[in-house]
Structure formats: C-alpha cells, structure tokens
Amino acid sequence: MRTTMRIHALVAATLAASLWLAPPARAADTIKVGILHSLSGTMAISETTLKDTMLMLIDEQNKKGGLLGKQLEAVVVDPASNWPLFAEKARQLLEKDKVAAVFGCWTSVSRKSVLPVFEELNGLLFYPVQYEGEESSKNVFYTGAAPNQQAIPAVDYLMNDLKVKRWVLAGTDYVYPRTTNKILEAYLKAKGVASDDIMINYTPFGHSDWQSIVADIKKFGSAGKKTAVVSTINGDANVPFYKELGNQGVSASDIPVVAFSVGEEELSGIDTKPLVGHLAAWNYFMSIDAPINKEFIKTWHAFIKNPKRVTNDPMEAHFIGFNMWVKAVTKAGTTDPTAVQKAILGVEAPNLSGGMAKMLNNHHITKPVLIGEIQEDGQFATVWKTDSLVPGDAWSDYLPDSKIIEADWSDKLNCGNYNTVTKKCSGQNY
C-alpha cells in the first residue's frame, strides 16, 4: 500500500514537472496553410508537383516577410487518391491544424468529397484544376478553367480554323468528362451539327486496350468529312491511347486529338513521338515567352533543384490563387475566412502570360485561352489564343437547366446558385 502511494506520488510529480518544464502553449505566431494533394496512388503523378509548387510559393512569401508580419507554415497531408480520405484530411486541416486556407484537390470527385466539409467548417479552398463547372461555393475559389475557358474555345478553334465537321467526344467515365461532354454536345447541336456526326465514348480509369475504339474512330473519321477527337481522357490511360493512334496510323493531320487533361507534366514521363502534332487546350504553357514566366521557371528550377522539371497550367493556377489570397488577407487585415471572402472579390494578381487575373464574384477568375501543338520535347507550341481574357462562367449557358442560374457572392446576391427565373436562391447543388 505504501509502495503504491509512493508510485502514485512519483507519477504525479513527474507529470507536474513535465507540464511546468514544457514550453507554454502560446498563440500560434505562424499562419498555417494547408496543402491537400495526393502524394501516392493513381493521381500522384499529377498532384505531387502541385504540393512542391505550394511549398515554393510559401517559401518565397516568407522571404518577402511573410503575411501580416507572421511567417507562413505549410501543413502537408496525403489523401492518397482516396476520395473519402480527402474529406477526412480536409477536416483534419481545418479543425485540428486550424489552417487559414487550403490549396488542393485535382479530380472533381475529390473536390465534391471535401465540399461539405469546407462549407460546414467555413474553410477556404483554392482549387487549381480545370473542371466541368456547374458549381459555385462560398468556400471555394476556382482558379482553374471552367468549360467556357477551355472546352468551348477549343471546339470553336476546331470548327472555325480546322473546319472540323465530325466529332468524337472521348472521355474517362466520371463526372468531369460526362458533364463536359453534355455541355459540348449541346453546344455542337446548337451550332447545327447533326447527332450522326457526334460519337461519344467513355472508358474506365487506366484503360489500356484501345484497339477497337481507335479502329472505330478511324472508321468514323473516314466518311469524307474532317474529323477531330475532343479528349477528356484523364490520367495514364492517355499513354496507350496515343500509342494506339500511332500504331494504327492515325496522324494528327488526319484526325487531330485535342486534349484537356494532358499537360507538360503528363508528357514529361512518356515517349512523345506518337503525340507530335496533337493538340491541347490550356490557359498557360511553359513555352510562353513572357519575362514573368521565365522568372517563375527559374525560381522553380532553383527551388526543386532539378532543371528538367516542367511547369504547367495548374501550377500557374496555384501561383495566381496564392497571390490573390495573400492580397485579400493583407486587404482585410486578418485571415478570418468570412473577411477574406469579402475582400478577395475583385482582387487582381498577375498571371504568367504577362497579364492580370481578376477574382470575379462567382469565385472564378479571368484567364486567356491557348491551343498548343505537342512538340517532340514535350513542350507546347501555341497555335491559337484568345485576344483578351475570358471570364469564367460557373453555370454553362449551353445547358437549359443552368443557363438561368447565376452565381454572385457579393452583397448583391450572396448566392452561388441563384435561379433568375424563379428568383430563388437554393443550397449548393451537389
């Protein structure tokens, strides 16, 4: 009995001592920034470089003196291409780590998974990837392209410049290609294309047996009218697809393929010979000849210590989004999400083509649109671009259901899903 009491006393003393000796919990004197990108799993090939980009941007900002007098601290988590895990990690970042903003997500399914978490906990998510639209949340800032900033201009280029008359819409089977193709089909039909001249095809992630599909595309394209493929194929299924096109002798000058999810990063790991001449539509190419772009690439190569690493469109989106967030926080004088949401509307930050991007009331930004041809070294040569910046449209004007919907987070409407016909604001439509 006495020994037990002595043990208890010893334990209590140790505990008290450790608490007294431990550094006092003081209020955080760093501002935490969350990075929510897959570092393993099937999306790792695209997302790892975005984590590195964010670390570089945070590092650069800290060199300039940080934000509001405090240093920025990166909190990196790995949701491992697992969509439910994205939501868990988002909750962890917001509740436990108390980050001021999160930069992350790639696939639309990952974004849809974290959306309820951000709306519940009033967090801020900066989403850098091109997507299908049909969404505008108070808590998300879409720095990637909406369909009217990528898909529609690409189709316009094919129709007007390349005189394409027959269309193959090929995509991976999930929400982004399905919704984008819905919009494109409606757009093509509105432009007078017959449904016989449109072929739509979906394949699972990672599909590698393209023989019959490419043979069908060849047959579809040999009916005497110029045919093009609009590809929303995501991930590494692109590699065997382009290889099969090469094997079956379908060259870019016969049936050009314009891709929305193939960028410098995806091209850097593969043999680009069969892809030369095929097209991609983005808002930024590493080959853009602007001083700010050269500067960015130099900083990137110095940071990542590898002169062979490439830059791509989602990296530019993070660059714009981060600078916009910094400006908004500085303007508001606080990192409080509600204040930042108000302050960020109308904020302008430079993009890497030499212009300025502006944060619009629907939480999208203005972007230039570029079409580029794939070169042998995995870079893109711009063959067409818009004269001016295109403002992002969250609710597509080509679908009857979303034509009448407007998003405006300023005090005017303060709604992301406002029906202009019934004059009602409804909750987030997911």
Binding site: L39, S40, G206, S212, Q248, S253, P256
Partner: protein, 545 residues
C-alpha cells in the same frame, strides 16, 4: 551512323534523280533555293508555300529536304543561315547541306535551330512527298504513295497519277492507281466514265471508295439521288452493297483478332496463376505485382542498354523471368510455406505482400509511371487490305504467348521436374513416399508460376503503362480466367482466356468498354453457379478430396 545517314541521303537523291530523269519537268535550282530560304521564315503560311515551291522545283534534293522536314530533321545553321539536314549519331551531329547534298561534317547541335512545322504543313508535306514518290524504285513505296493520295486528289495529282500509270508495271500499284483515277472519274460528266469508275470502285475496300459511292446515292430534299442516270445508280447501289458485305466480313475478322490479342494477354496473365493456384491451391494475391516486377525488369533492361532498343526485349525476357521467379520463391519460402493448407490466411498474407511490393516499387523508383519504349519492328500495322489492318505489337504478343504456353506445357509434360510437379499436385503424400522433395517442389512451382507472371509483365510493358498500379489492373482478370477455365488445368486457362477476350471485344462496340466488362463478369458469376469448377475441372480422387 554518319556514314549510314549520308548514304540514305544519297539514296533519296538517287530516287529523285530517277524521277527527274523520267518526269517531263524541268529542274529549277532557283526555286529550290528560294523554297529553302522561305522555310527560315517565322510565318507558318510562308513556310507552307515554301513546301510547294520545293516540291515543284524538280530538283534532285527536293525529296530529301521535304522528307527531313517531315521527320523533324531540317535545321537552320546560326550565322550563315544555311538550311541543313541533320542527324544525331554516336560521333556527334552530322549535317548535310539541303540545297546541294554536300557533307558539312559534324558540328555542335547548339549551333542549329530546328525548323518547326505544324499540322497543316504536315498534311501538305505528306501529299507533296507522295506525289514525288510515284516514281520511287520500290513498288511498295509507290503503292503507299498512291494510297496516301486517295483523300486528296486534286487535278494536278490526277494528272501525275495518270502519267505514272502509263509506265507502271507492277500489278498492285496499277490497281491502286486505277482506283485513284476511278475516284476522280466518279465526278466525270461522261456517263460511261462514271459507269466504269463505279465498276472499278466496287472491288476496292478503301474507305474513300465507299464514301464516294455513297455520295452518288445521297438523296436530296426531293428524294432524288445525286446521280441522275438510273443505270449508274443501280451499278452504284449494288457496288455499295458488295463493299458493305465485304467490310462487314473483315470487320468480324478484325474483332476476332482484337479478341484473340486481348485473350492471349489474359492467358499469359492467368497461366502463372493457374500453376500456383491450380497446382498448389495457393491464392496468390501478389500475382499482379509479380507481373509488375516483370514490366519494371523490362524497363531496367532498356535503361541498361540505351543504344540497343531493338534487341532489348529479347534480353528482357530471361531477365524478367528470373527476377519474378526469384521474387516468387522468396514469397513462397518466406510466407506461403508457413501457411500451407490454410487458404484464407494465405490470401491475406499474399495481399499484404502485394501492398509491400507496390509501395516498395514506389519508394525505390518513384510513384510515377516508367516509360518503356516500343522497338521499331513492333510498331505500326500490317495492312492486309483497305478494311483490315493488324497491329504488329499485338501480333508478336500473340506469338509470344503461344510460345510461352507451349513451352510451359512441354516443361510439365516432358521434363523430370514437370513430372515431379504434377506428382506433388496429385498426391503429395504418395509423391513424398516416392522420394520427391515436396517442399523444394513447392518452391519451384511457385517460382515457375511467378516467372511466367514476369513474362506476362514483359508483354504488358508494351501494351500499357508501367507503374506501381499495373498489377492491380490485371489481378482480377487473371483470377477470372483461372476460375472460368478450370482450376489446375492449363488448357482450361487457354480456352477460358481466349473466350473471355473474344466475348469482351464483341460486346464492346455495342455496350461500351465499361459495360462490356461488367457483362462478362456477370456471365462468369452465373456460369460458376452452374459449373463451380470451371470449364475443364480437375478430375480424380485427389481433386475431389
């Protein structure tokens, strides 16, 4: 390399000399020089016009220059702005003057800037080169040239083809040229010309022929066909019907080939599993990762022999077999042998091993995919006719799969080791009583099955992405094949794999890739309800036990 390249350029020049000698044109060195100078411009339109200029110059060097431009081998030298054809060899960057063909020796690549082309230029280049190739010495080159002109028959091209036909002796090329002329004659004002053209086109399986014939029969707003003469209309209709029948038949052949190629890949993936699962009763969830190891082994071999891409696959085959076999033996000795007779634990344990292997590869190499190149002899297609073309890579993989399968059957049937493997599988206790070292045979069997998985990985490296997730994409298919074909029976695996492949490919055009797979899976589930042991079940007392 430099010497080889130079002789190639000379050969091209000689080709053109022959054309130049036989063609009634006149050589314009000035036009060639002007065209080459135009290629230096930064305006794509100017460059496109330069291609025309070069092609029409009639100079001997024109073909070589245009061909180099298409291949991305035409450069402008900094400083004197000379246009050269360059090639990278082991001794450096060899340059040849595009205008004169003179050898300029080797130089530093940095001094040269490549002439960039876009898609419109590529299209124009192909047509120009095809027209220049109409008089090439090689018959198949002439044939390819005519075929590639089918879609772009301008009046100048027609004249060139007509003129070339007069001196053409090769039957195949003559037929192709006559088809090309018929395609043009379809629009002729003379009725007999059109009738003859329809007659010629009815024997052609080329897509362009069908398009033109269908165009004749297109009805306008009043229901009248574009072609007014009833005889021609009737001839066109029956020609179209004949062509469609032939194309449908070749379409079936093509689908069967696709099905066989998919099926043989499944057979290759499933055979290794059939051995470990069938012979030993071990459910090896790491089988997919053993295939992945084989694919990575192929990549390593390619990295190790950078200049020898053509033979790298032959070196990769034994290397991948050994790597995967050793990994398999390690798994058997380290994990499976302790769990013999406990299938559920084996399943869990091998699943764990598969995760370890996946993450190991991610850590050692990188989570990104590895680029495995396809040798030139495996790229491209074997064109049988206008409606049927067979990919070389699929063809060789079918041959490879058959060879591996037969080798395995021979090994099990005719060798002593195969005899011991079969003995242990049929009746372990009796085999041990006969002096067979059962434990050692277990390891060998597992190694054999894993080695075959490695060979499957070599084949897959040519078809799909090589990354840490490669195994996951094929493990379900492998089990499907083994379960459907009958556990423990190699012939069952063969029949099972081929039928699943063909069924999948026949369903795909109607149901789409995703639904086709689902339907095949449902079919297998229903089949297993009726025949739980698969198509060719094992028989005998040991199997029933």
């Amino acid at each position: 390399m430099g010497v080889q390249f130079r002789s190639l350029v000379i050969a091209c020049a000689m080709v053109f000399e022959m054309l130049h000698a036989s063609a009634p044109g006149w050589a314009d060195a000035g036009a060639l020089a002007a065209g080459l100078a135009g290629l230096r411009s930064s305006d794509f339109q100017v460059r496109a016009r330069s291609i025309e200029q070069i092609a029409e110059s009639g100079e001997a060097q024109a073909y070589a220059a245009l061909s180099a431009l298409l291949d991305g081998r035409l450069y402008v030298r900094q400083g004197d702005e000379a246009v050269v054809i360059g090639s990278e060899g082991s001794s450096g960057f060899a340059a040849v003057d595009a205008l004169t063909g003179a050898d300029l020796g080797t130089a530093d690549k940095v001094d040269f800037k490549k002439v960039v082309i876009n898609n419109q230029m590529r299209g124009a280049l192909r047509i120009a080169l095809a027209r220049l190739s109409l008089h090439a010495p090689d018959a198949s080159a002439r044939r390819d040239a005519v075929d590639s002109l089918f879609g772009s028959l301008s009046s100048e091209t027609i004249d060139l083809v007509r003129e070339a036909l007069t001196s053409e002796r090769d039957e195949g090329v003559r037929r192709a040229m006559q088809t090309a002329l018929a395609l043009a004659d379809i629009a002729s004002p003379d009725r007999d010309d059109r009738r003859r053209a329809v007659e010629t086109l009815s024997h052609s399986l080329h897509a362009e022929a069908r398009t033109r014939l269908a165009g004749l029969l297109e009805t306008d707003a009043e229901g009248k066909t574009r072609e007014r003469d009833p005889e021609v209309v009737q001839a066109a209709a029956s020609a179209l019907e004949h062509i469609d029948r032939m194309r449908a038949m070749y379409g079936v052949v093509e689908t069967v080939f696709f099905g066989l190629s998919l099926g043989f890949v499944l057979v290759l993936a499933g055979t290794g599993l059939a051995i470990t699962f069938g012979v030993m009763g071990v459910i090896n969830m790491a089988h997919g990762e053993l295939m992945m190891l084989g694919a990575y082994a192929t990549w390593l071999v390619q990295e190790a022999m950078p200049g020898h891409l053509e033979v790298s696959l032959f070196a990769a085959i034994p290397f991948a077999f050994v790597v995967s076999a050793l990994a398999g033996i390690a798994i058997e000795r380290g994990v499976v042998s302790f769990l013999y007779g406990r299938p559920l634990e084996t399943l869990l344990a091998t699943f764990g091993v598969s995760l370890v292997l996946q993450q190991g590869v991610r850590t050692i190499f990188s989570p990104l995919n590895r680029a495995v190149a396809t040798p030139a002899w495996m790229s491209g297609q074997l064109v049988v006719n206008g409606a049927l073309a067979i990919n070389y890579n699929r063809l060789y993989i079918i041959v490879f799969s058959i060879a591996v399968f037969l080798a395995l059957v021979a090994l099990l049937r005719f060798t002593r080791m195969g005899l011991q493997v079969r003995a242990v599988a049929q009746n372990r206790a009796m085999a041990r009583a006969m002096g067979v070292r059962a434990g050692w045979i277990d390891a060998v069997t597992f190694g054999l099955g894993s080695g075959v998985a490695g060979l499957a990985g070599v084949a897959l490296s040519q078809l799909t992405n090589v990354g840490p997730n490669l195994g996951q994409s094929y493990i379900v298919d492998s089990f499907m094949v083994v379960v459907f074909g009958g556990v423990g029976n190699l012939w069952g695996t063969l029949v099972g794999g081929l039928s699943l492949g063909i069924a999948n490919k026949f369903l795909e055009p109607y149901a789409g890739a995703v639904l086709a797979k689902i339907l095949v899976l449902i079919f297998i589930i229903l089949f297993i309800q009726r025949r739980p042991r698969g198509l060719f079940p094992q028989r005998g007392r040991a199997a029933e036990a």
